[in-house]
C-alpha cells in the first residue's frame, strides 16, 4: 500500500462531521421534557411560541451549543497537550487547571469571594465562573513560567502542572473542611461539572474558546508532528520546540480555563478523544485535531443527553456521566488495542 492520500483522510473527517450535526437535533429535542423532532425544527426556524419555544431557545439551544463547542475544545486541547508533552496521558488537567478552577469556584461558593468583584455578589454561578477563570489563568502563568525556567521541556510542563494541581487541591480540601452543608453541596455539584448552568453568554464564551484553540492548534499542527520524534529532530525540521510549546500551552490552557469556568472540570473527553482519533486516522495532527474535535463534541453531547434523560426528571451532572462511561470505555480500549495506542 502506498501513502494514504490526504484527500481520503479529509473525506473521512468531513464524513464524521455529520455526527455532531445529527446530535444537535437530538440534544435540542431530548430532555426532562422531550419535544418531537418536527416541533424542534419549527421552533428552530421561529414558528413555535410558548413553553416549547422557550425551552428550545432559552435552554436547549445554548446548552447544546455548549456541549458541542466545549467537547470539541477539550478534545483539541487534549490532542495538542499530548503532542506538546509527548505524553499520551497528558490533558489540560495535567497542567493543574481543574484544580485551579475548582479552588476558584470554592472561593466563591464557600468563602463568598468574587475575585474581580463583578456582578451580583449573590449570583454564585457567576462568581464561581469568574473565580475559576481567574485562578486557572494564574495557574497557567505559574506553570508556563516555571517550565520556561527549565527550557520548556515536556517534563518541566508536566511536573509544574502536577505541583500546582496538588497545591490547589489541598487548598480546596481545606475550604471544603470549613464549608457548611449547603455550600458543600453546591460546590460538589460545581466540581463534578455540568451543562445546566450554561446560558447564552456562556455559549458565546465557549465559542471564543473553540475558535482560539482550533485556530492555533491547526496553525502548529505540523510542528506538533515534528515534536513527536523529539526536540532535536523537530529543531532540524524547522520547528522551535520552545515557542511551539509556549504558544500551544497558552492557547490550550486559556481555552480550557474558559471551558472550565462555564461547565466545571469535565474530565475524560480531553484525554480520550485524541486517542480514539489516532486510532481512526493515524498520528498526523493535521487530521488528529479535527477528528478529535468531532469525537469530543459527540461524546460530550451524548453524555449530556444521557445526563438529562437517564434519570428523568432528575438531571445527573455531565461530569459524572463522562467519568462513569468514559473510564470503562477507555480501559476497554486500553486492553484491546494497547500496542496500537500505547507503545
Amino acid at each position: 500500500m502506498g501513502l494514504p492520500s490526504d484527500k481520503l483522510k479529509g473525506a473521512l473527517v468531513v464524513l464524521a462531521a455529520a455526527l455532531p450535526l445529527l446530535l444537535f437535533f437530538a440534544s435540542v429535542s431530548l430532555g426532562s421534557i422531550s419535544i418531537p423532532f418536527d416541533r424542534v425544527l419549527s421552533a428552530l426556524i421561529g414558528n413555535v411560541e410558548g413553553v416549547e419555544g422557550t425551552i428550545v431557545w432559552s435552554y436547549r439551544v445554548p446548552r447544546t451549543i455548549a456541549s458541542l463547542v466545549a467537547g470539541a475544545t477539550l478534545a483539541i486541547n487534549g490532542a495538542v497537550l499530548q503532542a506538546l508533552t509527548r505524553n499520551p496521558l497528558a490533558s489540560p488537567f495535567t497542567l493543574g487547571l481543574n484544580s485551579a478552577a475548582s479552588f476558584g469556584a470554592a472561593l466563591a461558593i464557600i468563602v463568598g469571594r468574587n475575585l474581580i468583584g463583578l456582578g451580583d455578589p449573590l449570583a454564585l454561578t457567576a462568581a464561581a465562573s469568574t473565580n475559576a477563570f481567574v485562578l486557572s489563568v494564574i495557574a497557567i502563568v505559574v506553570v508556563t513560567g516555571l517550565a520556561g525556567l527549565r527550557g520548556m521541556t515536556p517534563e518541566s510542563l508536566v511536573l509544574g502542572g502536577i505541583a500546582i494541581a496538588y497545591l490547589f487541591s489541598a487548598a480546596t480540601s481545606f475550604l471544603q473542611y470549613l464549608a457548611g452543608e449547603t455550600q458543600l453541596r453546591i460546590f460538589v455539584l460545581w466540581a463534578m461539572g455540568d451543562l445546566m448552568r450554561v446560558d447564552w453568554l456562556g455559549a458565546y464564551l465557549l465559542i471564543v474558546a473553540l475558535v482560539i484553540s482550533a485556530m492555533l492548534s491547526l496553525k502548529i499542527a505540523w510542528d506538533l508532528n515534528a515534536l513527536s520524534l523529539g526536540d532535536e529532530t523537530a529543531t532540524s525540521l524547522g520547528t522551535n520546540p520552545r515557542t511551539t510549546r509556549l504558544v500551544g500551552t497558552l492557547a490550550t490552557a486559556f481555552s480550557t480555563a474558559l471551558v472550565a469556568s462555564q461547565i466545571g472540570p469535565v474530565g475524560f473527553v480531553c484525554l480520550m478523544s485524541p486517542h480514539i482519533a489516532r486510532h481512526l486516522i493515524g498520528t498526523d495532527n493535521r487530521y488528529v485535531i479535527p477528528m478529535a474535535a468531532i469525537i469530543g463534541t459527540s461524546l460530550l453531547t451524548i453524555a449530556d443527553i444521557g445526563a438529562r434523560t437517564l434519570m428523568r426528571p432528575v438531571e445527573i451532572p455531565v461530569g459524572v456521566i463522562t467519568a462513569m462511561f468514559g473510564a470503562p470505555f477507555f480501559l476497554g480500549l486500553f486492553v484491546r488495542a494497547r500496542r496500537q495506542i500505547w507503545q
Binding site: 501513502l3 490526504d6 513527536s228 532540524s236 524547522g238 496500537q340 507503545q343
Partner: protein
C-alpha cells in the same frame, strides 16, 4: 556550498564540550567524524545543526552565518539524523518519513512530496515497512526509517549521528554505500559520526579525529587513521593490515 566551523566553543553547563574547533566540510564529500565517547562528535553535529549555540566562534553554511539563517530556511538546507529516535505515539513508518517534507510544505503534501517520500523509503530499503508501526521495528530497521526521513527532507547538508550503530554487518555497508552514492550524485555535504574506524577508512573521503573537544587530526582517512593516532586517541593497541586496502586491527585496551 561548504560548511565552515570556525573556532567553535560549546559548553554543557560548566563542561567545555568543544574547545575551539575549526574544520571545513566540502560539497560532494563524506566526512567521517571519529573519536572516543565524549570527545565531542555529537556536540559538533548538534552545533552545525543549530540545536546548540556556540559560546564562541561561528558556523558558516556556504557564505552565510548560521545565526542569520531562519529556522525554516535552515531546515530546507540541512537534515540531521540524531541517535536513538523513538515516538511515544503509534506512528506508522510512512508517517515518520513524510515528516521529512515538513520544511517544504505549508499544509498539504503535493503529489511530488508523496513521490519524494516513497523514493526515500525505497532508497533506504524500508518501503516494505511503510505500514508498520515504528515501535514494532528492530533498532536497525528504525535507523533505516530515520535515514529515509532525513533523505525525504532533500537537504544539501546531511548530518548523521552514528547512522550504522544498530545495523547488522551487511546493512552497515549498504547504508554507507548509499550515503556515499547520494552524496556524490546530489552534491551533498555529508558529515557522519562513526565508531567504526574501518568503515570510515572504507567509505569516507575525509576523516576528522576528535579528542577531548578538539580536532586531533584531519585529512584523508588513511592519513588520519594511522595506528599511532588510534593508539593516542582511543587508548588501544592497534595495528595496520593491508588487505589490500588499509584495515586497523584493535588488539587490546592500553
Amino acid at each position: 556550498m561548504r560548511i565552515l566551523v570556525e573556532g567553535v566553543v560549546v559548553y554543557y553547563g560548566a563542561f567545555r564540550a568543544l574547545d575551539g574547533v575549526t574544520v571545513e566540510f566540502q560539497q560532494g564529500e563524506v566526512t567521517a567524524v571519529l573519536g572516543p565517547n565524549g570527545s565531542g562528535k555529537t556536540t559538533l553535529l548538534r552545533t552545525i545543526s543549530k540545536i546548540l549555540r556556540p559560546e564562541e566562534g561561528a558556523v558558516y553554511v556556504g557564505e552565510r552565518d548560521l545565526r542569520e539563517l531562519k529556522e525554516g530556511e535552515l531546515a530546507k538546507l540541512m537534515g540531521y539524523m540524531p541517535q536513538g529516535v523513538e515516538s511515544r505515539f503509534p506512528m506508522r513508518v510512512w508517517e515518520v518519513v513524510a515528516l521529512g517534507r515538513k520544511p517544504h510544505v505549508a499544509w498539504a503534501l503535493t503529489p511530488r512530496d508523496v513521490q519524494v517520500v516513497e523514493e526515500a523509503m525505497k532508497l533506504a530499503g524500508v518501503e516494505r515497512l511503510a505500514d508498520r508501526y515504528l515501535h514494532e521495528l528492530s533498532g536497525g530497521e528504525r535507523q533505516k526509517v530515520m535515514l529515509a526521513r532525513v533523505l525525504a527532507q532533500e537537504p544539501k547538508v546531511l548530518l548523521l549521528d552514528e547512522p550504522t550503530s544498530h545495523l547488522d554487518l551487511r546493512y552497515q555497508i549498504e547504508v554507507l554505500k548509499l550515503v556515499r552514492l547520494i552524496t556524490k550524485e546530489r552534491g551533498l555535504v555529508t558529515i557522519a559520526s562513526l565508531h567504526d574506524i574501518n568503515l570510515a577508512l572504507r567509505f569516507a573521503d575525509k576523516a576528522v579525529l576528535m579528542k577531548d573537544g578538539l580536532v586531533y587530526a584531519i585529512g584523508k582517512p588513511e592519513d588520519v587513521l594511522t595506528p599511532e593516532n588510534v593508539v593516542e586517541v582511543f587508548n588501544v593497541k592497534a595495528a595496520l593490515v593491508k588487505n589490500p586496502r588499509p584495515f586497523i586491527v584493535v588488539e587490546d585496551a592500553v
